[in-house]
């Protein structure tokens, strides 16, 4: 899975797409892992823009929670944004909306994580 990273000042946005389920979760994990190391105190903020994700299963959600745990240990910040209605419902039913920082759209996520990144996104 290609995550097509985009940098906005000190934040990196990733754009997964399609379905994240038993068949694709390993690819998602492999694509996400290289971006986690720099997401630490004083390092990059990380935003996962889910606006092109159609579905996520428990296996995909597990990848997210493991990433969030790693980033928290490093003192970094990770957020998710742009959930499609079905994915938003899955987040709510699984209570992932309570354990991850979830925002309506990329701008809101960047605004919370990094004002410079929020300013940078307006110039794109």
């Amino acid at each position: 899975m290609q995550l097509e990273p985009k940098r906005f000042a000190d934040a990196i946005a990733l754009f997964p797409h399609g379905r994240i389920d038993h068949a694709t979760a390993d690819d998602f994990r492999a694509a996400l892992t290289p971006h986690l190391a720099s997401c630490r105190a004083g390092g990059d903020r990380l935003v996962l823009d889910f606006s092109a994700v159609e579905y996520i299963s428990s296996v995909g959600l597990r990848v997210l929670i493991l990433a969030s745990k790693q980033v928290k240990k490093q003192g970094g910040a990770l957020a998710v944004c742009g959930l499609q209605p079905v994915v938003r419902e899955i987040f709510e039913i699984s209570r992932f909306n309570l354990v991850l920082d979830v925002f309506p759209a990329l701008r809101e996520a960047l605004a919370r994580l990094s004002p410079p990144a929020r300013a940078a996104v307006d110039t794109v």
Binding site: H22, Y55, S58, L61, R62, E89, I93, S94, V99
Partner: protein, 320 residues
């Protein structure tokens, strides 16, 4: 087969408080005001047909105990939680004190699954036969220890029924009490075992106290196979998925989300949420059921298969 739930709560038996009962009564009376409920029949019909489940009923608070009625004279149970007390008393009340044969399958030996045995009256009465099956090598020791000082005043040796223990091996198929039975090892502290029961082309899976980490595709596939085309899967859904894989990881329980996914993959017919979180009240459990039904609905097209989602409550009967 008929499946009857005598205990559906996880971890510890619970009872409603006076305040909770009062809240139900107040809500019911307000909803029934001006409805002419001046006879018992009218009031009962109103409660059964018009009140929402968490107002007119309760999920109950007994811990794990499920009866499988096979149509034969022997009784079959899964686990000896506090629900076993009421089950035993109902047998004695309906059929007299002796001459009963019980086959009891133990998922594991944590307190909430064994604490009904000291109050299982048929075990004290001569003329009854109790055979207890399990995959742990400590089933007999655990039950004897529970029925002894200092935890209980009546020693195991005072139980007058003939009591036998039979060790099963996971993965093997057995023919017991008219059922074809296959145990399966599950992830839980000290291990637990699920059971797949088959009879007359109908399949029941009892799978409680089972954590699904979803990190091993082979393990996922093994559970899909265990649940394959079951008519009913009784599934440990004590935690939310977020809790199960974060703050409550390795606590040995699963979630409604994983239950739906596994039943969809296995093309099971019904999923029954079980081993309810003891801190959840009836409204919270009803919400959990509604959310799980919604999850099944929004993922049904992708799965290509419909799974009926139910939530167990003490007294629920499901015909297979």
């Amino acid at each position: 087969m008929l499946v009857r739930f005598w205990g559906t709560r996880g971890s510890i038996p619970v009872a409603m408080s006076a305040a909770e009962i009062q809240r139900k009564l107040v809500t019911a009376l307000v909803q029934g005001a001006g409805r002419g409920l001046d006879t018992e029949d009218k009031a009962r019909a109103f409660v059964e047909r018009e009140l929402a489940f968490p107002i007119g009923h309760t999920f109950g608070g007994e811990s794990s105990c499920v009866e499988i009625e096979t149509g034969e004279s022997d009784y079959v149970l899964c686990d000896l939680g506090s629900g076993a007390r009421r089950f035993g008393n109902s047998v004695l009340a309906a059929r007299g004190p002796a001459g009963h044969r019980f086959h009891i399958f133990m998922s594991h030996l944590h307190w909430d699954h064994i604490l009904g045995f000291p109050f299982f009256m048929p075990a004290y009465l001569p003329g009854n036969f109790v055979r207890i099956y399990g995959c742990h090598d400590t089933v007999e020791a655990a039950l004897r220890r529970q029925n002894s000082a200092p935890t209980f005043p009546v020693d195991f040796s005072r139980m007058g029924a003939r009591i036998e223990f039979v060790r099963l091996e996971p993965g093997r198929q057995y023919e017991i009490a008219g059922l074809s039975v296959r145990p399966k090892l599950q992830r839980h502290g000290g291990d637990s075992y699920g059971y797949r029961f088959e009879r007359g082309g109908r399949v029941l899976v009892y799978s409680t106290d089972s954590e699904h980490k979803q990190d091993d595709p082979a393990e996922v596939e093994a559970f899909v196979e265990f649940f394959r085309e079951a008519d009913l899967v009784i599934f440990d859904a004590q935690y939310s998925l977020a809790d199960a894989i974060s703050i409550k990881e390795d606590w040995g329980h699963s979630s409604n989300v994983v239950g739906v996914e596994l039943c969809q993959l296995a093309r099971a017919r019904r999923l029954c949420l079980y081993h309810h979180e003891p801190v959840f009240d009836d409204e919270r459990l009803a919400t959990l059921l509604a959310e799980t039904q919604r999850l099944e609905e929004i993922t049904r097209a992708r799965a290509g298969h419909r799974v009926e989602v139910l939530a167990a409550y003490d007294g629920l009967e499901i015909a297979l």
